[in-house]
């Protein structure tokens, strides 16, 4: 059990080191000639006005919030899914109720207009 996770640690460190090494090697091979105009922000030739940290639509935040709720509740369903073959009909009905409560939350957000993009 533990050595499976040890394998993942080795695997992920190699998976992230590989692109990092490639970028590093390419950096050694490539020329380096910077200039003020070359490194300026690219906006199709127009000079940049103001900071690039602009305000964003509140809708993005709203969807982030909805996602958070649904993702957490979905993860709570995974133990049920793994045990599904062993539980009786009673347990299934309980899970159905849980999913229905989840669906009610979605319906509420839908009715409130939180799912419409304005």
């Amino acid at each position: 059990m533990l050595h499976e996770w040890f394998y993942l640690v080795i695997f992920l460190s190699i998976a992230f080191l590989l692109p990092a090494a490639a970028i590093l090697i390419a950096g050694l091979l490539s020329p380096r000639k910077t200039g003020k105009i070359k490194t300026s922000t690219y906006e199709c030739g127009i000079e940049t006005v103001g900071s690039s940290k602009i305000q964003f639509k509140a809708q993005y935040y709203l969807f982030g919030l909805i996602f958070l709720i649904f993702d957490v509740e979905t993860v709570l369903l995974f133990p049920f899914a793994v045990a599904y073959q062993k539980i009786l009909l009673f347990g299934v009905i309980e899970a159905v109720l849980f999913v229905l409560i989840l669906a009610a939350g979605l319906a509420y957000a839908w009715r409130k207009g939180a799912l419409d993009w304005h």
Binding site: F6, F16, A26, Y42, T74, K86
Partner: protein, 410 residues
Amino acid sequence: MSFVADPVTFIIDWLQRVLGGWGLSSGWVQFILFALGAILLTVGPMLLTVGLIWVERKLGGRFQDRLGPNRVGPWGVFQTIADMLKIFTKEYITPIGADKVLYNLAPILAVGAVLGVWAVIPLSSTIFGTNINVGVLYIMAVGAIGELGVILAGLGSNNKYALLGGFRAVAQLISYEVPMVLALLVPVMLSGSMGLNDIAGAQKVAYVFLVPAAALVFFIAAIAENGRAPFDLMEADSEIVAGFNIEYSGLKFGMFYVADFLHAFTSALVFSTIFLGGWQGPGAEQYPILGFIYLMIKTVIVYVFLLGVRFTLPRFRIDQMMAVNWKLLTPLAMAAILVTAIVDKLTPGGFGLVRIVALLVSNVGLLLITNWLVGAYVRAHRARRQVVSGPRTVVVAPPKPVSEAQEVNA
């Protein structure tokens, strides 16, 4: 086990004997084998990408009635290698005011996350990195790191276009995780395990025939997670130039490119593992090498289908994209879970004909009802938008009066 039937186990046994013969302790032997396996499973996909890029460009050309790459080598097969040589010697241009850490971290995260998925995918009954008991959750977690890469690229580039691309990535990639996870619950329910090798091994009949509704939701969500057409809003060239990767050059851009192409193939691989039976096929138990071939055939079929979707459909608007996710896929995935849970519990277990037919009929029924509901929704919206009613009257121009000049001539 002979070498032909199962080369990987054969080589592992041989290496264990050789390394053990050198007097290494079993812990070190294990470590060396792990490291070798991990290097093979990460370098392999990276090299595979070279071929994938050519296949995708060539097939894309054919789909769109173009030739595709055809200059470098026969049928342009060396095009990617030429591109690679060029991109390796290109200069890195870091824009003024970029957040150096986030800017440089983003391409590494994007590629590393896609490669990380390969650790748990069973390429055959004996050929896999590791079979952890939470494989499905691991895939979702590692996939989320890739999304983080896109978001960090948008945030760290100090560019408004990149930031807009990052916003869209937040809206799209994060939202489509919900139906994806919900759809993944169904195969976990049917197989009773989250390990991918167990899920693949449990499919005496491929799950796409048992639960087509969940498979469809997963497929659409996987396309959206790739961030390519018709869901390529975050790098929509005609709207925000190149989106999140606008300020990247050289191999840093190349890494996003690699991640994009490899992600598409990896999605096809995950789909065929979870819904198409993975390495299952006639004789795959005795000859694991056959299982690998079956898996690759299934994956290539799914991959070509994915390319067909990519190269033929136009881009969604952002409101349509969000509506498809939250108003269609998420409720459909929930309904698929409910229907599957109830029908499967009421029918006898195993792969009897009754259970298969009951699951298939209930799922197809669910899809038909959904189709009808969507049609009704669209019709209602169209009816509201129509203002002018009645057939348009055709105005016929009155006959021209005979001009004076003609009269004179007559």
